[in-house]
Symmetry: C2
Subunit: 185 residues, 2 copies
DNA sequence: CCAAGGTACTTGTTGCGTCAACTAAAGCGT
DNA sequence: ACGCTTTAGTTGACGCAACAAGTACCTTGG
């Protein structure tokens, strides 16, 4: 499948022995890399399929609703919500508009800052996300958690943390910072 | 970030102690799961960014060209190419049409089977993919390979193999089967 | 040798994400 | 009080992927 990443190992060994200019991978590295790329390609698709089928939500919509469900008053400013879901503001704006049309969230202008918009989870939205959560977790178990033993779970956590330092150096995604719910003023 | 996956651990412990109906995750499992989801979300974006910037290709287009570059006569049937890139046929058809408009591949009707279409990498397409490969591998090193030590590389390979058994039980993706290039007749 | 069914694509439609404006509201210096 | 800049969000256009239909070709049973 991927000779193109290692097939010229011998020829570059001739004139480019140093790390910086020798791009190709060893067989072990190649297998790990291709495995990770495959997982990264397939996992989001599976998550979307399960949630779409069982709850009529994309994974991203689920994340939006889930973040709101945990926030004080089930309300977050768009910017904060975007940070927590690793979305651009335009993307979030479109998605929230569609969710509002479906009656799952409501938007309101923030009283303390006229520029800001607060998104609030409706009762119906709460029912939807609470109804979707068990199936989602079941899928997480089926695809990942139950496929690995405890040792591998620990290894996976360490590996993903290392990778996230490179993939997301600013820690924009999954900031885990305490909620600054409404108007910080 | 994700109380919604574990916040009710205590309350379900009351009435649903068994595995099948107890969906929530332990803290360790939760961290590994969220880490993997984040990586799966960010890695494809980074790969697309680097290839788009340096070679004007999406990761998927790069995969298409790379698979062709390894095939005998730089030629594959659409169905085979779709299997090797984990794409649906409609998706591949659109992408190959665009690549043909850019002069990177050529399509021709298969002489031995009038239904089939062969995609062939042009010289220009070969130059593009060969030019793109080093930067792509460099990015793979920067984001993943060089972030992990040899032990973790081995762990990651084992973990991804386990996960792929669940994510892709039919081994549709990355089948690594020998090329059946043209007309098996 | 012809009809029925399956195979290998291609094409049109729809939905979502990104990018590039654009609007409106603060903040800030004078 | 007046502009100028920054911040927050929305909107519209465009590109790409998924799904559904359609077309052309092969194959198999009668």
């Amino acid at each position: 499948m991927a000779q193109h990443l290692d097939q010229h190992v011998d020829q570059i060994a001739d004139h480019a022995p140093d790390e910086a200019t020798a791009p190709w991978l060893t067989a072990d590295q190649l297998r790990a890399w291709l495995g990770l790329v495959s997982v990264a390609e397939l996992l989001p698709v599976r998550l979307d399929q399960q949630l779409q089928r069982d709850a009529g939500l994309t994974h991203f919509e689920y994340m939006v609703l889930a973040m709101l469900s945990e926030a004080p008053d089930r309300t977050l400013r768009m910017t904060m919500l975007a940070a927590r879901t690793d979305a651009t503001l335009p993307r979030l704006s479109h998605v929230v508009r569609r969710l509002e049309e479906r009656g799952l969230v409501a938007r309101s202008s923030c009283p303390s800052d006229g520029r800001a918009t607060n998104a609030t989870l409706s009762d119906e939205g709460y029912r939807v996300v609470v109804g979707a959560a068990p199936g989602h977790v079941r899928e997480a178990r089926r695809l990942v958690v139950d496929a690995l033993d405890a040792t591998q779970i620990a290894q996976l956590e360490a590996i993903t943390q290392r990778l996230l330092e490179r993939l997301d150096p600013d820690r924009r995604f999954c900031p885990d910072r305490p909620a600054t719910p409404d108007s910080p003023h």
